[in-house]
Amino acid sequence: MFGQANVLAAGQAAFPPTVDDFYLPSILPWNDHDSIWFTKITAMVWIAVGVLIIFFLATYRNPQLVPTKKQWFAESIYGFVRNNIAVDMIGHAGVRFAPYFTTLFCFVLLTNAFAIIPFFQISPNSHIAFPAILAIISYVLFNYIGIKKHGFVKYFKNSLIPPAPWYILPLLIPIELFSTFIVRPFSLAVRLFANMFAGHMLLLVFTLGGFAMLSANAWLAPVSVLSWVMTIALTFLEFLVICLQAYVFTVLTASYVQGALADEH
């Protein structure tokens, strides 16, 4: 972080930014590129977890029937996911998934938000490990729910055999198998990862590009300023992407659970 700032100030920033810019050296031991256990990324994950736990426990330590402002805020987050995602997608049975969906939504939203919060400025979700964990949980969740509800055979029959004429089934069954049981976890993980990765890359390009032009030729200073203004504009875009991707991840998980619970294909 500070190394980066020094680099920027010295005008020595490497341009264009590369994938390696996403892999920061570890904090403990300091500046070690091979140790990954305690990096800025993992620290941010722990911070996100800590902040969410403290926020919810503090606001919900002593719940009142008539809520205080903080309690109301915490309740509206839960109420939003519960009513607008879980119940809307799954119906009344979705209420029992609302706690997980809310946890998922809050975690993704906050870790995404680190992408534009000053001094954090990179999202842990730009490392595929974290979206992958969440996608695997969603994958296991919807398959488990489906098998538990319908039984193993009926669940796979429901999922794999669409109501279509028999002669088209040999074509449809592999497609269903591929899309439901193979592509889903990857698409979930990669969608989130790629959005956060691209967002960070975009901000890097415009920020570092400004410095690169400034150090190359003083006459390019106005263009550098334009580049930085673009950075600000893109930060707003990034904010939109952050919220949208958190929402999309949760909604898709809910949709998969709904599909697993549905009686018909």
Partner: protein, 179 residues
């Protein structure tokens, strides 16, 4: 510094391959988050929502019950009031009737009493008069005989004649008195 390190050759990282250390850290961290929030926070929120629904519905129900009870009490009081009014009117009528009856009784008794007193007086008077008349008659007879004896100078010996004379006289006296 770090950029210089990466500048050398090929990128050392593949962004699509997850780092297993990060998977471990992320799993543990997310598990902790899930455990705390799903065990201690969201079930309580669900309870609070339920309590709120109960409170609102219960409040409405209680208000309705109270309203119904109030209405019933009002009806009851009205009925009681009407009953009390009827009773009061009846009691007043009874009292009036009683008073009239008592008055009549007293009047009748008084009249009876007065009649009795008058009758007793009359009877007594009549009795006394009869006594007096009897005594007078005897006395007047004696006196008259004595007087006549004195005047005539001899005794009117004949009892039967004497009695008839006196009686005749007295009858004449009475008829003159009565006239």
């Amino acid at each position: 510094m770090l950029f210089l390190a990466a500048e050398g050759g090929e990128s050392t990282h593949n962004p699509i391959i997850p780092l297993w250390q990060e998977i471990v850290v992320g799993s543990v961290a997310f598990a902790v988050l899930c455990f705390v929030l799903m065990k201690f926070v969201f079930p309580r929120m669900e309870q609070t929502f339920q309590a709120r629904v109960d409170a609102i519905e219960g409040g409405i129900k209680r208000a309705e019950a109270a309203q119904a009870e109030a209405n019933q009490l009002l009806e009851q009081y009205r009925a009681q009031l009407a009953e009390a009014r009827t009773d009061a009117a009846k009691i007043r009528d009874d009292a009036r009737a009683d008073a009239e009856g008592i008055r009549q009784d007293i009047l009748a008794k008084a009249r009876e009493e007065s009649d009795r007193v008058i009758q007793a007086g009359k009877d007594q008077l009549a009795a006394e008069r009869a006594t007096i008349v009897r005594e007078l008659r005897a006395e007047v007879g004696t006196i008259a005989v004595d007087l006549a004896s004195k005047i005539v100078g001899e005794s009117l010996a004949d009892e039967a004649r004497r009695k008839g004379t006196v009686d005749r006289f007295l009858s004449g006296l009475e008829s003159t008195g009565a006239r």
